[in-house]
Symmetry: C2
């Protein structure tokens, strides 16, 4: 076993090199020992993984990270080196047999139910239900939370940006500001799942097969001071023939354009033109220019248009510009006007549709505000706010014991929102005739599922008077088995499928639940039976105080 | 070369499995190709890595991540699989020779100067200066920023928590809420460097040799409903002899304590006592109890004290309690009163000093407020706010070209704070007689260094009238060579040394610069020569507008 386990470790590469059983809080291991020592190694537990509040002042969350959890279960075991390390940090009073027990531990006796990755989910609904030996189920807690919390937060954030920006192209540019190397990788992955179209992160592209995008930065522009820095100025036309002088052609076009742009040529940077020409020679089919190093309207845009027109003479079509500072709405509107004017002036219909990309410290609110201002941007490159989830950098998923040896457990708290819903439960999503989801319903696991066309009573879990009859047009059982008897039970979906699932799932949510400002809360309810069960157990467990 | 490189890859394990040249933005590679294509492969560049504003509304930052940058340089090369991937995503027009060029690329011609890791640093000061071939220097940008940004942010955050909490024990508990698996690992590492005493993260302990701490969570407590759940109730005395019934002893003590605590015994949870007894049997030398599952004062603390007194009869000394909810100041004060009362009542002097640990969503402001309330906590366990740096989840380090082929470069901006200080520079820290640092001074690289006892003019880089003569008692050259001629030039310090450096460096800062509320900004200045140079270059580069 141990040897086999070590070989699994050696096979681990890339991101998952660190997703291993020691990626956990020490107290899980000390609890495991105390459970073992107390003879609870055969106890059977049910844990629910859920969150209590949607992030970003919103009313929905995208569930992600499940695939990583299932892979973690599949490889769950302690290597000899793990055991050696634990021996070193745990007290010498720990019995040897416990280490033997750990060595033999796998997740084969655990059953994992979960909601499909990429689904919209809501507070209190168990995203994952873990059943199995108490010790193993307990040992999964921290790693599962780590894998789900940030993944879901990022996917939700990305889905919100996607919603704000309609069908525009969204690129994730956050690696440099992300929380550590893997913070960057996970960000790229879950931004893509949440609805982004690509990333600048090359390793993420390689590992996850995400489209990778990027052109150049300001350093590239400032590394050229003038035409003398250009060692190569010739480019072969697209359809063959002798190479032509792209610099001379660009300069010729620049002379024409200063009239349109109403600029004196002395104001237009030669270094910038040199940089653009060299970049166009390197990437004649993908020419995209960063235009704000000096002045977008007086220099960058003009130089770009000059090179784009020169490239056109050689048969190439430029892509567009990127603006990384300034008033993005205004600059994009004016840039589009110039595109259009040139398009008309030279009878080049495609010119008016050249790309305008914006990438300066953009967040969800910026996009909404740009929308109000009628911006003409086609593509956003989004970094810091997206990847660090600046508006709320953590999701508070928790992992709570709800049943032990077939007896329901409740965690009480003076804060009602922290009281857990006890026992093993099933979750159903009830849809209305419109196709929108109406309510999520938690039931005791042995209740009959609700049926389409049949009236069912949905109750608020904690407020007695809040209840409603619902007659669903469609009922979806949200929990499916992903891991049982030591095997992955459902083929793990690829990222593309999960990404599509997100958009499909988002479409089942009414607009008022998804909107940015004062969204309507989605209803999460319990069946009448579960309501009674919960409140009986609560009374049984809450001590009766004595006023004195 | 390629084979050698692949073998380096195979040797990579753990965290650094993902710190590799492809952990970058694609535009670095496209720029590299355009530079190469433009014949700029022999250009020699100087880049500065610096930030513009201190995080957390503070006036200082701790520099961290340097060790990782140097290790990255040491292993910098593209594997065959990297090249294959790049071929796949870059346009087919890219020349084959470029891939050959990339294959042979290493960081051996790069020289890296840096400030010592763990130092307090300030805006605009180059933390790292990279000199070398333009292409390689450019290719390092994103990875360096990724390695420095979060590391410095975390270390700064941790140092602020350390400052707020004086000599109390600080433990990092953030893994479950961190931004991805490595977000958690990096958090543990840099929290320790910033001044924390340990972590709950076992893998961080194993990889970085950080002390690891942890006891049990609420699930452990709720997994026991009463005494019947206890299969083992006996414990051998510390100094040997027959095992005694720890449950019976604890119950005996509990009967005595209900009088002191003024509680009816029916209010005290039996399940909780059972859990504590079982945990004490598992860890008799390290008994620490989570006391807020039911009610801290009516149940948890009382049960803990009962077990602690029972353990004492067997010769063991308990550690203390952890409180994870409620009014931490009040609960800690009352808990300490009970400790003291029991200490007096039973003549056990050590009892009054038992540990009180608090761990409920704590941030810097909470600690400062608890201080004001005269809390009696010995140890904080801090998670979400610490590891995600909730107050400000990203540091904005940038990496700017300041010189190319011995010609200084300036990046202008309408926002003065974004104008770069051009050219290759040296950095000195000037100290006063008190031992506090007075000012950081940037000079052109060929200026004579300032000398102790000699007056030097320090100027604000952008405000003409702000200048002062300083006569330093001590001058420290902040930049040292860490990498040159393909070799690591300074032994990389271990984490313990960096951690000590942080505290030493913090002590050189005046209190008003470090305080939480309205801190005084530390002065960052330039020499008179650099001032003139900067402003001449600015005028040369800024186009003269035309009013019309």
């Amino acid at each position: 076993m141990a040897e086999e386990c070590n070989s699994i470790f050696e096979r681990k590469h890339g991101q998952n090199g660190i997703v291993q059983p020691l990626l956990t809080d020490l107290y899980q291991i000390t609890m495991a020992y105390a459970y073992w020592k107390a003879g609870k190694d055969r106890d059977n537990a049910v844990f629910d993984l859920f969150f209590r509040r949607n992030p970003f002042q919103g009313e929905f969350t995208i569930f992600a990270g499940l695939e990583e959890c299932v892979k973690f279960l599949d490889k769950f075991c302690y290597s000899q080196s793990d055991i050696d390390y634990l021996r070193q940090i745990l007290p010498p009073s720990i019995e040897d047999e416990f280490y033997e027990f750990l060595k033999g531990l796998t997740a084969k006796d655990v059953t994992l139910h979960a909601i499909e990755e990429g689904s919209v989910v809501f507070p209190r609904i168990p995203l994952i239900r873990v059943e199995g030996p108490l010790i193993v189920a307990q040992l999964l807690e921290t790693t599962f939370l780590n894998l789900v919390n940030y993944a879901s937060l990022m996917a939700t954030n990305a889905a919100r940006y996607r919603m704000a920006s309609g069908n525009l192209t969204l690129l994730e540019f956050g690696l440099r500001r992300a929380q550590g190397p893997d913070g960057g990788l996970s960000a790229s992955k879950y931004a893509y799942i949440g609805g982004f179209d690509g990333t600048s992160n090359v390793l993420a592209g390689k590992l996850f097969n995400i489209p990778v995008k990027g052109t150049h930065g300001h350093a590239y522009i400032t590394s050229f001071t003038g035409f003398a820095d250009l060692k190569t100025i010739e480019l072969k036309p697209k359809d063959g023939g002798d190479a032509l002088d792209l610099l001379a052609l660009s300069q010729k076009w620049r002379k024409e354009l200063v009239v349109i742009f109403k600029v004196v040529i002395a104001e237009v940077s030669d270094g910038e033109l040199a940089a653009f020409v060299s970049f166009a020679i390197a990437f004649p089919h993908q020419f995209m220019a960063l235009v704000d190093t000096y002045d977008v309207l007086k220099s960058g845009l003009l130089n770009f248009c000059a090179v784009a027109l020169a490239l056109h003479e050689l048969g190439y079509r430029a892509i567009g510009i990127r603006i990384d500072s300034g008033d993005l709405a205004y600059l994009s509107i004016v840039s589009r006007q110039y595109y259009t004017q040139i398009s008309v002036e030279y009878d080049l219909p495609w010119f008016k549709d050249l790309v305008i990309m914006a990438s300066n410290d953009i967040n969800e609110e910026t996009i909404l505000s740009l929308n109000d201002q009628g911006h003409k941007i086609d593509c956003f490159g989004i970094g810091t706010h997206l990847v660090t989830c600046q508006k709320q950098p953590a999701l508070g998923c928790v992992y709570k014991l709800v049943e032990l040896n077939s007896m329901a457990r409740i965690k009480l708290s003076q804060d009602v929102s922290k009281v857990t819903i006890p026992g093993k439960k099933n979750v159903y999503r009830l849809y209305g005739e419109s196709g929108y989801s109406l309510v999520d319903l938690l039931q005791k696991w042995d209740e009959d599922p609700p049926q389409a066309g049949k009236k069912v009573l949905c109750r608020h879990p904690f407020e007695e008077s809040k209840r409603a009859f619902v007659t669903p047009s469609k009922v979806e059982a949200l929990h499916k088995v992903y891991w049982k008897n030591g095997e992955i039970c459902k083929p793990i979906r690829n990222m593309q499928e999960i990404r599509e699932r997100v958009q499909r799932s988002m479409r089942t949510l009414r607009g008022d639940i998804k909107r940015n400002l004062n969204p309507t809360p989605y209803k999460v309810s319990v069946s009448d039976k579960l309501y009674s069960f919960l409140h009986e157990l609560w009374l049984q467990n809450a001590p009766i105080g004595e006023l004195s």
